[in-house]
Amino acid sequence: MSGEGTRLLTGVRARRIAEQRLREEITRGAVVPGQRLVEPELGERYGVTRNSARLALDALIAEGLVERIPHRGARVRVVSGSEVVAILECRQVLDGLLARKAAQNATDEQVDRLLANLGRLQRAVAEREPLECWELVQEHHRLVAEAAHQPLASSLVERLQGRIARHRFQLLLRPGRSQQALAELTEVVHAVAGRRADAAEQAARTHLQGGIDELLLQPAGA
């Protein structure tokens, strides 16, 4: 692919780029569980040095997204359905806490940002833009976490997120699911805006419950 004279990026920025691109590809299913990840190939694909590709793999290994196979390199880790459900159950209670704290601690500006993001999500759902919906749902979670002022809960959620991102993404693509997610997140945002802590916690939990139920009923395919 890359011709001669292509300058490969190196250093911290290169590692971050490789990490982010690979994470995205795993989330969107461009690389699938079990698929081998070869450092020189990754380096070439992302335009970074082999060493940067290796450091990116290390970061994703620490998150449980990638695993090393002795003497055979690395591959995308297969996360079992029951592991996904267990992670979602943790996410559910932690997201509930974040929504509760957001209802208590959000500044008016933070509430405005949540409402604006919700407006964008409404439009993206109406226009059937799945990738944009996905980005805006992620943004919603970032904004709630920021408004919650509970950095520990946010960091635990982030640490769990990697392993379930692929499933969350696929789930959002299922028919009717983005409308459903919009309705659920609307509840969350309105409860936060109305400073109703219990309702916010409940609504955030309900949003994750939808995902758990669907996974239990209809396990995600590869």
Binding site: G64, E89, C90, V93, L94, L152, L160
Partner: protein
């Protein structure tokens, strides 16, 4: 063993859990210096593995680096202890609910026996033992829950709270209140009542948060 086990080498894991256990027992109090050579000698793993373990514990917030002087066990402020307990609350509630759904008959016997030991410790005023027994109780509930991911998260939070929990149990009357809350938790789990177990864990930890947030009448002089 959580899913986390796959992410670190066995040697690193050994060193990490050695330090975590020592901190949670109070053998390594806040400010305690972690000396690499010493940990190598005591755990039998390589210096490299000890270093990785210390890095992981720093990332977790249990240990902090001192410029040019290695690392030490971090002091956890009261505000932090409250924030950590806030996060623990819904996770322990989840574990309690799952334990009520999944507990075996043998585990029920174990939990009841453990509660009797706790009651005896409170009756005899043995606060230090009671404090350790509380942690073991959460461990037993966590095992019965068969939910390694939540148990792993809680385990990482737990070690940072030990000192505050111990100080809490020194307050006059507190062990009785604590015992009542945890008795309800055991009753609910052993009655296999998930909703009641979840509520019991939540209520108990809300009480802990409220007690932690009160100004401290420190009975023991400088901590």
């Amino acid at each position: 063993m959580g899913y986390g086990a796959a992410m670190a080498s066995g040697a690193q894991e050994t060193a990490e859990s050695f330090v975590r256990v020592a901190i949670s027992r109070g053998d390594m109090p806040p400010g305690y210096r972690l000396v690499e050579a010493d940990l190598v000698a005591r755990t039998g793993v390589s210096r490299g593995a000890v270093r990785l373990a210390i890095d992981a514990l720093i990332a977790e917030g249990l240990v902090e680096r001192i410029p040019n002087r290695g690392a030490r066990v971090r002091v956890v402020s009261t505000d932090e202890a409250v924030a950590i307990t806030e996060v623990r609350l819904p996770l322990e509630a989840l574990l309690a609910r799952k334990a009520a759904e999944r507990i075996t008959d043998a585990e029920i016997d174990g939990l009841r026996a453990h509660l009797e030991t706790m009651t005896a410790a409170v009756d005899s005023g043995d606060v230090r033992t009671y404090s350790e027994l509380i942690q073991q109780l959460y461990g037993l509930v966590g095992e019965a829950a068969r939910h390694p991911i939540a148990a792993d998260l809680v385990g990482r939070l737990q070690a940072q709270l030990v000192r505050h929990q111990f100080r809490l149990s020194l307050r006059p009357g507190r062990p009785r209140v604590s015992l009542a809350g945890l008795t309800e938790l055991v009753d609910a789990v052993t009655a296999r009542d998930p909703a009641r177990a979840e509520a019991a864990a939540s209520t108990h930890l809300r009480g802990v948060i409220a007690a932690l947030s009160e100004p401290i009448p420190d009975p023991g002089g400088p901590a």
